[in-house]
């Protein structure tokens, strides 16, 4: 009788208890089992280390123990490749609190790179998540993906090639994204349905859109507010949008520096914009129909001030491009859709532009959402200035110099 079922048993033997520090896990056939076993059996305070080298894993990793550090030998020294991944929705999933991830490169996950869900006080430090084939619609969606979490720190992280957002923080509170680099993603950095985020000193380049702040309907956590985007380099975001059509970011026009949609109390200042061919800053209402009585699709209480603007807006792409010919073929640095109402209501939305007079601005005067582009009523007149209190700096307890030094 032919063998109909070939079974391969995986025997995972719990490592013998060793009071000393276990050696870093080295690449090899047993590395996955060793690492996943260590992640599962970890105790609070443990540091789980990967040695230098390339690890080829076919299954996803997961961590569900609080206060564990997962550390490699450094970016591009410790490389975890998921090129042959067979299962799981991401390369690494973290579902516990107080976790630090640091010092490794993750390549070519089939789904998301690193996801942390309901994982408070998390640190992503000195990491790279990359799809090595370049920007392709078959790449995974998000590079680093903290969601439904409080106190999120992303520091010194590079993400390249994500078919949605490189660094995506969703439905979370108290967020810092800094000193990071997002390139060749559809969206470089995205803060979605979240409260109190500081996005600063990052480089967003070669994405379709550099930095996005969104609020979307029909989600458990809505009403995103209090985000500051400052001191970032947001330049040459000119990679053709390669998101699958159904994806919300498929609507991001190629060549957008900052795209702000819905949300409240968002401040954009001290950034350097250059060579974003659609527009440097675009402020829009959620433009699809929706069925959610608790959702407000309008951007309101926004301040855009003291940024540096180079060339841009010279070749507008996407949904608004049909309007460009009437405007001389280009868009100014700052574009607002001029939507102030929805569902029969109108609000005093306060979109404050406090820039030098020569910085271009246009309101498309679309009035209500979902907008009708044929009803555009463009105006170059800025809205009246208003005092909109800036959110306090985000301070994270686990973001202490000592903690940073240990992680670095």
């Amino acid at each position: 009788m032919r063998a109909l079922i070939a079974a391969v048993s995986v025997l995972a033997l719990a490592a013998a208890c060793d009071p000393g520090k276990p050696a870093p896990i080295a690449p090899g056939a047993e590395a996955y089992t060793q690492l996943q076993t260590r992640l599962q059996d970890a105790k609070a305070g443990d540091v789980i280390e990967l040695a230098e080298g390339t690890f080829n894993f076919t299954e996803g990793l997961s961590l569900d123990v609080d206060n564990v550090t997962f550390r490699g030998a450094g970016i591009d020294k410790t490389i975890i490749s998921f090129k042959e991944q067979k299962g799981a929705g991401e390369g690494l999933l973290v579902t516990s609190d107080g976790v630090t991830l640091t010092g490794f490169t993750m390549q070519d996950t089939k789904g998301d790179g690193i996801k942390s869900k309901g994982a408070d006080n998390i640190t992503y430090k000195d990491l790279k998540v990359i799809w090595t084939g370049g920007p392709l619609p078959t790449n995974g969606a998000y590079g680093v993906y903290p969601v439904e979490s409080e106190n999120v720190l992303v520091d010194g992280v590079t993400v390249s090639g994500a078919s949605d957002a490189g660094i995506y923080v969703g439905q979370s509170k108290n967020i810092i994204v800094r000193n990071s680099r997002a390139e060749y993603n559809v969206a470089g950095i995205e803060i979605e349905n979240s409260m109190n985020a500081d996005v600063h000193d990052n480089v967003a380049t070669k994405n379709a859109g550099g930095i996005l702040v969104f609020d979307l309907p029909n989600l458990k956590i809505m009403g995103g507010h209090s985000t500051r985007i400052f001191n970032n380099q947001i330049v040459e975001n000119d990679t053709q949008n390669f998101a699958p059509p159904g994806n919300i970011v498929a609507g991001v026009p190629t060549g957008t520096g900052v795209l702000l949609m819905a949300n409240r109390n968002v401040h954009v200042f001290g950034n350097t914009f250059d060579k974003n061919k659609t527009a440097h800053v675009m402020v829009v209402a959620y433009s699809e129909s929706f069925d959610d009585a608790n959702y407000n699709p309008l951007p309101r209480d926004f301040v855009i001030r003291d940024n540096t603007y180079g060339a841009g807006g010279n070749d507008p792409q996407g949904r608004l491009s049909p309007l460009a010919p009437a405007l001389g073929g280009s868009l100014p640095a700052i574009v607002w859709d001029g939507v102030t109402g929805y569902g029969g209501k109108t609000e005093d939305v306060r979109i404050v532009v406090r820039e030098k007079p020569e910085v271009g601005f246009i309101s498309l005067g679309l009035g209500t959402t979902p907008p009708d582009l044929t009803k555009a009523n463009p105006s170059m007149t800025r809205q009246p200035d208003a005092q909109i209190e800036e959110p306090a700096a985000v301070v994270l307890e686990h973001d202490k110099p000592a903690a940073s030094a240990a992680a670095g």
Binding site: A7, V10, Q36, P244, S289
Partner: protein, 360 residues
């Protein structure tokens, strides 16, 4: 269970009783006492071997020990066409507390036992059947925990396998099509991904709705469990899930299928809560269960489609495209499926095709 109704009929484990007692007697020569060992169940660490718990009267795990009760569910979760054998153990003298809406509240020391098996031809699932894995859900003092065990090639023992593994399975599906399955045994963390509600580990199956039908022993399982003294508080009239492949209205059956296959993650408090797609049977908002709902975190899983469900158009519905994909990063459910559930897919397609087209 009515023959011919479910395409995934499980014959069920053979019950304990006289044979089990006889087996126990003949095994008494072995060093360990027979029967379920509560001390092993409640130990801090998992036992290295499945047989250490004493759930079975034989080494092959085909005969249940006394006090271990086989059961099945109105609608089982699809697991790559595996046969699944379920049993429950409630420690002596204690009862699970009935709940109309939630999984029953089991006393500390209870265990839910589930074995996954394949035969060379799943049209005759009992012929040449081999066990792949047995998963234990144990109710500890601090809550539920999940311990997976993988069976050996000789089918005489299953050993603790916390990081899971892959098994290549060649078989023939119930509809006659040849299948090559790269079957995945989940790791302990993956167990929790599905078995998690508001961060707490929880069983999925043993609820009134899922148990309320005639089980492998014959009688209605709620009445049977009550009679056996392992369930308290069950009313005469309890809610029951419609059989997904029964003969009630298609919408009812499709929602029941989505409930058991998707809602463990796709619910508030579940692993996919951030998607905003809630597929539990009692979700009342059509947008919540997908009608003209735009994807939130689907990434490339959305493909070319704009909505989770486009009424009347299964081929333009993300729900359908993700059920018919086998590509990691696109396929749903993310875990526990590597081949297409053709019957489930057909059910969902038929349901969406029958919806009146509408605009968002």
């Amino acid at each position: 269970m009515k023959a011919g109704v479910s395409i995934r009929t499980n014959k069920g484990w053979r019950p304990g009783g006289w044979l089990a007692a006889f087996m126990a007697l003949t095994l008494a020569a072995c060093s360990q006492p027979a029967g379920v060992r509560d001390s092993v169940i409640l130990a801090d660490d998992p036992a290295p071997k499945l047989s250490d718990y004493g759930f079975f009267a034989d080494a092959g795990g085909r005969e249940l020990a006394e006090g271990v009760v086989a059961y099945d569910l109105v609608n089982p979760l699809f697991s790559d066409y595996a046969s699944k054998y379920r049993a429950v153990y409630v420690p002596g003298g204690k009862q699970a507390a009935y709940s109309a809406d939630d999984v029953f509240d089991f006393p500390v020391g209870s265990v839910l036992i589930k074995t996954f098996a394949f035969a060379p031809d799943m049209r005759k699932p009992e012929e040449g059947e081999r066990y792949i894995e047995t998963r234990l859900l144990i109710r500890k003092e601090a809550g539920w925990t999940a311990w997976p065990y993988i069976w050996n090639a000789e089918q005489t023992e299953a050993v603790y396998a916390p990081v899971g593994g892959r098994h290549v399975i060649e078989t023939i599906a119930p509809d006659g099509e040849a299948l090559s399955i790269d079957y995945a045994v989940p790791n302990r963390n993956q167990c929790k991904l599905c078995h998690s509600k508001d961060g707490e580990f929880t069983p999925i199956g043993p609820s009134a709705r899922s148990l309320n039908h005639d089980g492998p022993h014959g009688p209605n399982q709620l009445a049977d469990w009550t009679a056996r003294g392992i369930l308290s508080g069950a009313p005469d009239a309890a809610p029951a899930a419609p059989a997904a492949f029964g003969d009630t209205a298609i919408a009812e059956r499709a929602r029941a299928w989505l409930d058991i296959n998707c809602a463990h993650c796709h619910r508030a408090g579940g692993g996919a809560s951030n998607s905003g797609l809630f597929l539990a049977w009692n979700e009342t908002n059509p947008t919540g269960w997908g009608v003209h709902k735009r994807p939130t975190a689907a990434g490339r899983g959305s493909g070319d489609d704009l909505f989770v469900i486009e009424p009347g158009k299964p081929d333009e519905s993300i729900l359908v495209s993700r059920l018919q994909s086998v590509e990691p990063g696109v396929l749903m459910p993310e875990l526990g499926r590597t081949v297409v559930d053709r019957e489930g897919l057909a059910l969902i397609r038929e349901w969406i095709a029958g919806m009146a087209p509408s605009t968002p």
